[in-house]
């Protein structure tokens, strides 16, 4: 049966070539670079924007304003009024909290901190994952059993809950400490992923060829196998950065993050704690929330873009 809606709308992606528009056909002929992906580019730009806020913000704005009592408390952003009817001043363009901390300064210092924790935790987790995944997949036997079972076990345990116990017992910690602790919970998925890939690659033609030519194990692992894993590794890395930031923000919102360094989660914690919602101080929780959202949207776009790079079926014409 012919489908009238489909015939009228030839742009819908149909598996046959005849249904394609001229534009789509042109796009198919073009030799295009999969890395030149709009989602990927948008995602990277958003994250670079946050990094730029951290770098250039420090040059143009006084970061000492993050301390208690640095400016007049409870001010609205420029162009708005607080509950007492005072207009926001240009001296604190994004407003201030009840303790007299400048919101703009808090964002400039806090946003890169969240990103730093995420990237560092993910880097450590990734390195562990690459090491363990290769060891498990390549060695096999007992070693493989131990690594497989422990990653199965650890993937079930939600990091936040163990970290709550850690923080509650140790008290204040630094950003780097927090990143290291979170890293202990983000090595499992790269380990599983790499193990599975290594197991399938071990039997492939080019690896056997390399082995026959007398290549060392190290050469096979890092020169023959690793380059093929790059898109997967990137994807896994970004997914882990997201998990790490979610965990870090979770700890901070529970009041368990670093106490002396400003973080976005900590600002939200203070805002909720001082009933900013009922006091209608939307700028206090709103700006850090929006900034974190931008960060997560950036990470999501990068992840979707990387999916399309490694899986051509997902690419839209």
């Amino acid at each position: 049966m012919s489908d009238p809606t489909n015939a009228a709308a030839p742009e819908t992606a149909a598996p046959d070539m005849a249904g394609l528009t001229k534009r789509q056909l042109k796009r198919m002929k073009r030799f295009d670079n999969p890395w030149n992906n709009p989602k990927l580019i948008w995602g990277v730009s958003l994250l670079l924007g946050i990094v730029a806020l951290g770098i250039f913000g420090r040059l143009f704005w006084d970061t000492d304003l993050v301390f208690t009592g640095a400016v007049m408390p409870s001010q609205a952003p420029v162009g708005f009024e607080n509950l007492r009817g005072q207009v926001g001043l240009a001296s604190s363009p994004l407003g201030t909290d009840v303790a007299g901390k400048d919101l703009l300064a808090l964002l400039i210092v806090g946003a890169p901190n969240s990103l730093y924790v995420g990237v560092l935790a993910s880097l450590i987790g990734m390195s562990l994952g690459i090491f363990l995944g290769f060891t498990a997949g390549y060695t096999g036997g007992r070693v493989d059993d131990v690594i497989r079972v422990s990653s199965d076990v650890m993937i079930t345990i939600p990091p936040l809950l163990i970290l709550v116990v850690v923080q509650a017992s140790f008290g204040d910690i630094t950003l780097t400490m927090m990143a290291v602790l979170i890293a202990a919970f983000v090595w499992q998925s790269p380990t599983r992923l790499i193990r599975a890939q290594v197991l399938s690659m071990r039997e492939s033609g080019y690896v056997q060829m390399a082995r026959l030519s007398g290549a060392s194990d190290r050469h096979i692992m890092f020169r023959e196998m690793l380059p093929n894993l790059v898109p997967y590794l990137f994807g896994s890395f970004i997914a882990n950065v997201t998990t790490a930031i979610v965990t870090a923000v979770g700890l901070e919102v529970l009041g368990l993050g670093p106490q002396r360094v400003p973080t976005l989660g900590r600002v939200i914690y203070d805002a909720i704690d001082s009933a900013a919602l009922t006091r209608d101080m939307w700028w206090w929780w709103g700006f850090p929330t929006v900034l974190l959202m931008v960060m997560f949207i950036g990470l999501l776009l990068i992840n979707l873009g990387l999916d399309e790079v490694s899986n051509p079926r997902l690419r839209r014409l």
């Binding site: 598996p15 919102v253 009041g255 909720i272 929330t289 999501l300």
Partner: protein, 331 residues
């Protein structure tokens, strides 16, 4: 089958055992002596304490800190496995198990509702993203709905709270039921619970459905090109019938595995949602315990949530071979 079962059961026990051990070891690595901390709080509350040395001795004995570590450890494991988490130090002498028992139904109720809504909405939207007969406006709107994916639900919670509770007074700001309603099986109570549960549940749904939608999209693209789909079309079956019975039904299987793994993240995220909505579940219990440094409660809540996650993963592993007859058991 027996080997598969034994394998899964072993992983379950190991998970619970390792989690329990971590929760036991971590506070003992801390430089802060819990009895010192407790005495410190007592002193700050009521001035000087006479005979603090004697009290300290007494408490050390009472909590068993004078026993060798292996005796302490085995006692702890024995108690934990029988759900005896000791007494809360903040609301002394309420047993921790009793406090958890009061909070657990709220958490499980909210989680189940959020989970079911997310799974249905997420998979349907994911399927619609690929289906060729999806109305044009939907094709444009659905991808835009994904922006909240993988955010912590506190962010969506704060926004929803601000819009639908502070600005538009449609839903209550916090709690699980109104202060003027008696907790009993009456229509007004159930209505109040639903009214209070909408925002917390929504804030979880908004950030989690995209995960399933994106997964479903990838799977549907694969199913779309399969021979059986083409044959079903050639047979002239109804479009919707093909979508539900041929495409979604085949694509949904890997989603069920992901379901199990996602439960852990969901539970952890919910801890935070409960904290901002002051919802009287495990998350609020945990948060209050953190504020008052109530270690037995912190440990008890963490253990129970990890146990729940591990059990959920185990159950999904058991159900999976029943749903997908193609799965190879024993591997």
């Amino acid at each position: 089958m027996a080997r598969y079962l034994a394998n899964r059961l072993f992983t379950l026990f190991l998970t619970v055992f390792i989690a329990a051990t971590l929760i036991w070891i971590i506070p003992r690595l801390s430089p802060v002596n819990p009895i010192d901390a407790m005495l410190g709080r007592m002193a700050s509350g009521g001035g000087t304490i006479e005979n603090s040395g004697a009290i300290m001795e007494q408490l050390m004995e009472r909590f068993g800190f004078n026993d060798p570590w292996y005796v302490q450890y085995f006692l702890y494991i024995k108690n934990t496995l029988t759900f005896d988490f000791g007494l809360s130090t903040n609301s002394f002498p309420t047993p921790v198990a009793q406090m958890i028992g009061g909070a657990l139904p709220w958490t499980i109720g909210l989680m189940m509702v959020a989970l079911i809504i997310t799974f249905i909405i997420g998979n349907l939207l994911g399927a619609l993203m690929v289906w060729e007969h999806t109305p044009r406006p939907w094709k444009a709107v659905i991808p835009a709905m994904m922006v909240f994916t993988s955010m912590p639900p506190i962010l969506s919670g704060l926004l929803l709270m601000y819009v639908f509770s502070s600005t538009l007074p449609w839903f209550p700001l916090n709690g699980a039921y109104g202060i003027n309603v008696e907790p009993e099986w009456s229509l007004s109570f159930i209505g109040s619970v639903i009214h209070h549960g909408v925002l917390p549940a929504m804030s979880i749904v908004v950030v989690t459905f995209g995960f399933w939608a994106l997964g479903m999209r990838g799977l549907m693209i694969t199913v779309q090109g399969e021979d059986y789909t083409v044959l079903a079309k050639a047979k002239g079956l109804k479009k919707r019938y093909i979508l539900y019975k041929y495409m979604i039904r085949n694509a949904i299987l890997p989603q069920i595995t992901a379901f199990a793994l996602k439960i852990g993240m969901l539970v952890a995220g919910q801890v935070l949602v409960e904290r901002i909505f002051a919802y009287p579940g495990m998350g609020k219990l945990l948060y209050d315990a953190i504020l008052t440094q109530d270690y037995p409660v912190i440990q008890g809540v963490s253990f129970v949530i990890i146990l729940m996650t591990a059990l959920a993963v185990f159950l999904v592993d058991l159900i999976y071979p029943l749903i997908d007859p193609r799965i190879r058991l024993g591997g």
